[in-house]
């Protein structure tokens, strides 16, 4: 790792004279540019997928944790007794915690978008809501329904968030899939840079022979190739990352209804994460070229 840091520093400093000892351009360099750009583009999408899936999993997980509601429909004079009974039932149900009835103000806030302000909540025959959350392994919904139907006839259990549990798992899986895709993308980039570097080293066997004749060390010769490929990978990856981020930004409609498709994108500081792609691509190219150069130079000896 220290060697890597030293080489990155040397790369930043640049060594124009040393870099010119390797003939310019050639198809291998263009291949590296293109491969790095394409892989960086894909990497941005894989990142967007991972991060969006992660956000989705978090949000759905929260909703799941926020839990369930009990809707109690009863005649006004019955209401308070039924609410109290429901709370009693919930308090004695394993896997349930934090049960409480919404007060009038909260109910009004919920209804306002539908019925407008000034709703006489206390005089309308609207149901009362009791919320609670799940703990541990959760509660037995069928058993709870059975007890409620016996003790609080006006109660309806709404465990709507529960159906999302498999979706939370799916989103988690999608996030993992995205990270794996990223790993594979960088692996494929390393493989392509290795092929390109091998081709360049083979094409320049004569150059290597001349450099050796005048006393160039393996490190010097390898360095010239490494800097060239690293610089190209960095440039290609920067372009690919730019294009990828632009493409993600131009994806249609995210908004509040974020699902898997409409939610694919970056949010907040996540927009900065793709900035890591070009340096990672450069580091990948550096390690791949260095390994290829060491092998070729050993075999040419």
């Amino acid at each position: 790792m220290k060697g890597l840091a030293r080489q990155l520093a040397a790369l930043a400093r640049g060594d124009a004279a040393a870099d010119r000892v390797v003939p310019p351009a050639g198809f291998t360099v263009r291949l590296t540019l293109f491969a790095a750009a394409a892989m960086a583009f894909l990497a941005v999408f894989a990142l967007a997928l991972s991060l969006a899936a992660g956000r989705l999993a978090d949000r759905w997980g929260e909703e799941l944790a926020r839990g369930a509601t009990l809707r109690i429909q009863a005649a006004p004079e019955e209401m308070d007794r039924q609410v109290a009974a429901a709370l009693r039932v919930l308090e004695t149900t394993p896997g349930v915690s934090g049960a409480r009835a919404l007060d009038d103000a909260e109910q009004r806030a919920l209804l306002e978008p539908w019925l407008g302000p000034d709703i006489p909540v206390d005089r309308l025959p609207i149901p009362r809501l009791v919320t609670f959350s799940e703990t541990g392994d959760g509660y037995d919904a069928a058993g709870l329904r059975l007890r409620l139907s016996a003790e609080v006839p006006g109660a309806v259990l709404d465990d709507h968030a529960r159906w999302r549990a498999p979706l939370v798992a799916a989103a988690g899986g999608l996030r993992l899939f995205g990270w794996m895709a990223l790993l594979l993308i960088f692996g494929a980039m390393a493989a392509m840079v290795t092929l390109a570097a091998n081709a360049a080293l083979a094409a320049n066997a004569q150059v290597i022979a001349v450099l050796r004749l005048i006393g160039a060390t393996d490190a010097y010769i390898a360095g010239a190739f490494v800097r060239r490929f690293t610089a190209r990978a960095l440039a290609g990856a920067a372009a690919g990352t730019g294009a990828g981020v632009l493409a993600v930004a131009l994806l249609p409609g995210t908004g509040d209804a974020a699902g898997v498709l409409t939610g694919l994108g970056f949010a907040g500081w996540h927009w900065l994460v793709p900035l890591l792609v070009p340096p990672l691509a450069a580091a990948t190219a550096l390690l791949a070229t260095r390994a290829a150069a060491r092998r070729v130079l050993r075999d040419l000896a």
Partner: protein, 225 residues
């Protein structure tokens, strides 16, 4: 600085060279002669560790070539200037950059080095060709550029393989003058050649030893040379 101890070399068939024991001392001047195919180039390659002996031992600057790793060989090469038989250059660089290559590789590419380079190019008469590409040079210009590249880092020894192989008499005299001048600066010089006229002309100017490869052995040539 370069010492052979009972050295033998074989490319895989029979031994091409055998039983060679000699030392190149600082400031010495040697010719190496023998018919084509006798092993002159092979001998020089043993001198700069491009080949390792298949028998005996070669020592460069008091270290056995068998003890040198690739970095060690590279370090020894920076102290031995080689004028290769076919003068290899980097064709994408100018003549000046090619001549300066040993400086670049040694990281000595500073201001003073650039001045040395201009001086050296003038010395071998290539100032007007400094910006040309190697493929554009004539045979004699290539030889001179190769010589300039071989001496730019001021090596302790200079090995030249047929330096006058494809140049006319006048040019070969100029190259010889350059090599004699380097020798006067204290550098060991070894020239492989089958150009007897060149050897005679040199012997009138310097105390040179003439080695001849015959019968797979290196022997001191007689007084007729």
């Amino acid at each position: 600085m370069i010492a052979f101890d009972n050295v033998a070399y074989s490319y895989g068939g029979g031994e091409l060279l055998t039983g060679i024991t000699l030392a190149l001392a600082p400031g010495s001047f040697h010719f190496l002669t023998g018919p084509s195919g006798a092993g002159k180039t092979t001998f020089l390659k043993l001198c700069y560790a491009a080949l390792r002996p298949t028998g005996g031992e070669v020592r460069l600057f008091d270290r056995s070539v068998f003890a040198l790793d690739r970095d060690g060989v590279a370090a020894a090469r920076r102290r031995i200037g080689v004028v290769h038989q076919d003068c290899q250059f980097l064709d994408h660089l100018s003549v000046a950059d090619n001549v300066a290559l040993p400086l670049t590789v040694a990281g000595l590419d500073g201001q003073a080095a650039r001045r040395d380079l201009a001086e050296l190019l003038a010395w071998v008469g290539l100032t007007h060709r400094a910006e040309a590409r190697p493929p554009e040079l004539s045979g004699g210009e290539r030889q001179r550029a190769a010589l300039a590249r071989a001496v730019i880092v001021s090596p302790d020894a200079i090995l030249a393989d047929e330096p006058t192989g494809n140049v006319d008499w006048e040019m070969s005299q100029r190259l010889l003058t350059l090599l004699l001048e380097l020798n006067r600066m204290g550098k060991a010089v070894m020239i492989a050649t089958h150009d007897l006229a060149l050897i005679r002309s040199a012997k009138s100017q310097v105390q040179a030893r003439v080695l001849r490869i015959s019968n797979r052995r290196v022997q001191l040539a007689g007084a007729d040379l």
